[in-house]
């Protein structure tokens, strides 16, 4: 019995009255129940970007290396030279992970991997950017957060490890604003020959449409619509909207699809991700300027008695739609039988432009494909500027012993070693992780292409909360800085915009500010945005998350010898600080951790200065004089120095003198804690052999870069001498605070 279309049913499908009128006008009639479902997922925020599309147009999307632009296909593709290209993209699985962390995260990994091999690329690595509420403490929120962290990490490991794509890095931050609403953003990169980019278009009228991969079940029903709502106490009831992943099937599908693509039989290919069969049929038709007709009786099913509505809206995992060149259908049979995967010819490409779904011989769905896929309403949402954040005067802050502050900052899980997490990810499969997780950027050797790629994900939510525009700019700048520190030139960006409900004007203001900040920064760094994802409605009963426009950036290391790590290497090397001591503590982790304040004006980014600093460092690296490079970010200079001492396989100390430094005019009047923990941008700690220090000075003077000689590498302590006296930390003490913080929190029993 199909339900009658009532205003109430329309509302339950997340469609407004206005949108329903638009659907009726488009069809020239009332939609039936199945069609209503089809529109509801295609016109959900998740699939249509109806509230953000206008903003996303502000991104720079072109560049000399861009081969496939943002929005054109399932993932962007850029040229890395010598006939090779990479496809990469980041996507979120926040809502599913909030209600079912293991499967939510696992299917997030599976989904982004499919997006990449859909482009004809072999996935070569994964990264992720995760956000959770605090994990320390004996309270319900912390216990729940610990369960979420364990579940998400296990889910990522489960899928990534089994499918054999290494997870080589990423970042994790912890903050109250993510209580009950974790963020799980996953990035995948794949490599392909420039000439072999696959397209998601249903081209060639009369070509067969094949369904390949797992059978369709009732799991993940209308997940796209679920992801386009706020999380509430009742969200747990939506657990059936979370898909269940099977990485083994995913691996078979990956190999089979790449093999079939190599055979030349494929005219178009598209994964069934959000909105499953619905989205893949209408999007391929829309891209091809054609129509697609499928027959539900032919769709491989896992359960009996599924209605057309359920089949079309299912988000069962590990499924693809493939348009096969006529005469090549036998190839599909050969390849998919070899890999023991279900496949079925379910329809054909038509010329009438309709997405037509047959059920029992009659048309159950008949919708113009292009309008369904591309003509969702586009809204300009209202904005409202929220109250300016509390300002901070250093003089109002009671002085806290910096010796203790550094320990507290290193033990803050945002800064602390993520070894407990990274050890669970297979990062060594594919034998390419040159710089494993834990450095400024991960470096991966892509053997197929003989190229060294660097990759990083970054976003400081504190800055974005206090000033989303500046915070977004800094996210891009920091990503580029991390790549530069690893010896790479930044190439391109994928972004994941995580925000609250766009119908709240303050939230939409944050989003607009952040997008404009990202756009400006991507222009300045010449790193076009090649794709990404928007995740809205990140709200829990506790409130809205801090705005989190995560940036994933890819870089190229043009010579293996330029690969640089963050940690000190050799006793006696001279330590320099590029970019000055700085003085901005607004939005710092120091303020949050020691004073409990998320307040103040976050650091300002000066593009010219940032670009000059990065150019200078790249120049030094190319001269072969840089032994280590690490940027100052959360926790400022002191945390950066401590990490330089500890993050390598061998701990190694450093002797620093902050007094009597040349080139630090402002330092004399500055409180020591401000010098140590401020988060002013465009600053990098490097170590160089002492005989090269003159060269570094000369180059800095020539480039007009502020350069401070901090001291030297060596010993078993980190010692910082200043006009206020000498601070000294045994490395073992720093290491214990930093290395064990997360592991201790997460290895306790939470019953």
């Amino acid at each position: 019995m199909t339900p009658i279309i009532t205003p109430e049913l329309v509302r339950q499908h997340g469609l407004s009255e206005e949108e329903f009128e638009r659907i009726k006008a488009l069809l020239g009639r009332e939609p039936n129940f199945t069609e209503l479902g089809v529109f509801s997922v295609m016109w959900s925020e998740h699939c249509s970007y109806k509230n953000t599309r206008r903003e996303l147009r502000k991104f720079p999307t072109t560049g000399s290396r861009v081969l496939v632009k943002a929005g054109e296909e399932n993932a962007g593709v850029i040229d890395i030279g010598d006939g090779w290209a990479v496809a990469f993209k980041m996507e979120s699985h926040n809502h599913p992970s909030a209600v079912e962390p293991f499967q939510g995260a696992a299917t997030g990994v599976g989904g982004i991997i499919r997006d990449i091999f859909t482009m004809g690329a072999r996935p070569v690595f994964l990264m992720n950017s995760l956000r959770f509420g605090p994990i320390h403490g004996d309270n319900d929120a912390a216990r729940k957060n610990r369960k979420l962290v364990r579940g998400v990490v296990a889910g990522i490991a489960h899928y990534g490890n089994c499918i054999g794509v290494p997870t080589i890095g990423g970042e994790i931050s912890f903050d109250d604003s993510y209580n009950g609403n974790p963020l799980v953003n996953v990035l995948c990169l794949g490599v392909l020959k420039k000439a072999e980019i696959a397209r998601g278009a249903a081209s060639g009228v009369g070509n067969a449409v094949f369904y390949v991969g797992s059978e369709t079940g009732r799991d993940g029903l209308a997940g796209a619509a679920f992801a386009s709502r706020d999380l509430t106490e009742e969200s747990k009831a939506d657990r059936p909207a979370v898909q269940v992943g099977d990485p083994f099937r995913g691996k078979l599908l990956l190999e089979a699809c790449l093999e079939l693509l190599q055979s030349g039989a494929v005219a178009g290919i598209q994964d069934m991700g959000a909105a499953g069969l619905t989205c893949s049929t209408c999007e391929t038709a829309s891209r091809g300027g054609t129509g697609v007709q499928i027959d539900l009786a032919l769709v491989p099913k896992r359960e009996t008695g599924m209605s057309p509505y359920e089949i079309l809206l299912s988000e069962s995992q590990e499924r693809m739609l493939i348009i096969v060149r006529s005469g090549e259908e036998e190839r599909v049979k050969e390849v998919f039988e070899k890999w023991d995967l279900p496949y079925a010819k379910v329809g054909i490409v038509t010329e009438d432009g309709f997405m037509r779904v047959l059920n029992d011989g009659s048309a159950e769905v008949e919708i113009p494909a292009k309008q369904l896929a591309d003509d969702a309403p586009v809204y300009e949402r209202e904005v409202a500027i929220p109250a300016a954040p509390e300002t901070i005067a250093v003089s109002d802050l009671a002085f806290h012993d910096p010796k203790d502050s550094l320990i507290k900052l290193l033990a803050h899980p945002t800064v602390a070693s993520k070894n407990w997490v990274f050890r669970q990810y297979d990062h060594t499969v594919r034998a390419g992780a040159v710089v494993p997780p834990g450095s400024d950027a991960a470096v991966f050797y892509v053997r197929e292409a003989d190229k060294f790629l660097a990759a990083t994900t970054d976003c400081n939510h504190l800055y974005c909360r206090l000033d989303p525009r500046e915070g977004a700019k800094i996210a891009v700048a920091e990503a580029a800085r991390n790549l530069t520190c690893s010896g790479a030139i930044p190439l391109a960006v994928t972004d994941n915009l995580n925000f609250g409900n766009p119908y709240r004007p303050e939230n939409f203001w944050q989003l607009r500010e952040a997008v404009e900040g990202l756009a400006e920064a991507c222009r300045r760094f010449e790193t076009p945005v090649t794709g990404g994802n928007v995740s809205l409605y990140n709200e829990s009963p506790q409130g809205t998350i801090d705005p989190t426009p995560t940036v994933g950036m890819i870089g190229l290391i043009e010579d293996e010898r330029w690969t640089t790590r963050q940690y000190f290497q050799i006793q006696g090397d001279v330590i320099f600080l590029i970019g000055g001591v700085g003085d901005e503590i607004g939005g710092s982790l120091y303020l949050k951790t020691i004073y409990g304040k998320k307040a103040g004006l976050p650091p300002r980014l000066n593009f010219d200065r940032e670009l000059a600093v990065q150019k200078f460092l790249r120049g030094l690296i190319r001269k072969g004089v840089v032994k280590s490079a690490h940027d100052c970010s959360e926790g400022g200079l002191a945390v950066a120095l401590a990490e330089c001492c500890m993050s390598g396989a061998e701990k190694i100390g450093a002797q620093i003198r902050l007094s009597g430094m040349s080139g630090s005019s402002s330092l004399a009047n500055q409180r020591l804690d401000v010098s140590l923990f401020n988060e002013s941008q465009s600053r990098i700690v490097v170590s160089v052999p002492s005989q090269e220090s003159e060269l570094v000075h000369q180059d800095a003077a020539q480039a007009g870069i502020e350069l401070i000689r901090l001291g030297s590498v060596g010993g078993s302590e980190l010692t910082i001498e200043s006009s206020d006296g000498t601070l000294s930390w045994p490395l073992d003490q720093l290491h214990e605070a930093w290395y064990s913080s997360i592991a201790l929190a997460l290895s306790q029993q939470d019953l």
Partner: protein, 233 residues
């Protein structure tokens, strides 16, 4: 001379093993599909890591019954060198070519980290180029890599020199801290009594190139190639 790298559905170190042989040593190696019933024409077999058949039921349990394994078992019994790495080791235990089993890591978590190994038997085709007592650095990456066997089996393995690699610390001591997964007697790799079948949890296929931080794994493949060449000569 030609070496087979078996591909099961779910193998994910097949490419790494093949590259270690072809790019690392320049020898001839080819994939053999799990549905093949013959390995004629090959001189040695590598069973690579991964999650064969999804590791459903038990790690390696289904792969042990695949068509290709029936001919691998026969070849192993007539002396052909067979080297199972990670999931390959699990498969060898499931077939009975090697004794004991690999169970969940002590921590119950998947572990990917570098480890130190001590070579304790250089009389196998895979270890003849190294001295006993030599330390190898390689990564592990497994969730079920804790070697288990009963007391009597362990005793026989130890006495028969079948423990080929042991987890040790940097000083070569088989301490509890150096044991990443809770393997009995710190066992990382064992061979059959004849020495031609080796199972090893750590990955030589991920430590054969200076870019990966260790080239120690290459030594095992080199030994195998030398062995095959000396047999052929």
């Amino acid at each position: 001379m030609k070496i087979a790298v078996v591909r099961f559905p779910g193998s994910n170190c097949d490419q790494d093993c093949l590259r270690a042989l072809t790019d690392g040593l320049g020898v001839k190696a080819e994939y053999v599909w799990h549905k093949e019933t013959s390995i004629a024409g090959f001189d040695a077999v590598i069973l690579p890591g991964g999650f064969s058949y999804g590791d459903y039921l038990r790690c390696g349990a289904i792969a042990a019954f695949s068509p290709v394994m029936q001919s691998v078992i026969k070849a192993a019994n007539s002396g052909m060198p067979v080297f199972g790495i990670c999931n390959g080791f699990q498969i060898l235990c499931e077939t009975g070519l090697l004794r004991g089993a690999l169970i969940r890591n002590r921590s119950l978590l998947f572990l990917c980290q570098p480890v130190c190994l001590k070579l304790e038997n250089n009389r196998t085709p895979f270890t003849r180029l190294s001295d006993e007592g030599a330390i190898f650095r390689m990564p592990i990456a497994h969730g079920e890599g804790a070697y288990y066997a009963d007391e009597q089996t362990l005793e026989e393995l130890e006495e028969g020199g079948q423990v080929v690699f042991r987890y040790v610390n940097e000083d070569g001591q088989p301490t509890s801290e150096a044991n990443p997964n809770g393997s009995r007697n710190n066992i990382a790799g064992i061979c059959n009594p004849a020495g031609n079948v080796l199972g090893l949890m750590p990955h030589p296929d991920r430590s054969w190139d200076h870019r990966l931080g260790s080239e120690d794994g290459l030594q095992l493949f080199k030994s195998l190639v030398e062995t095959l060449l000396s047999v052929a000569a």
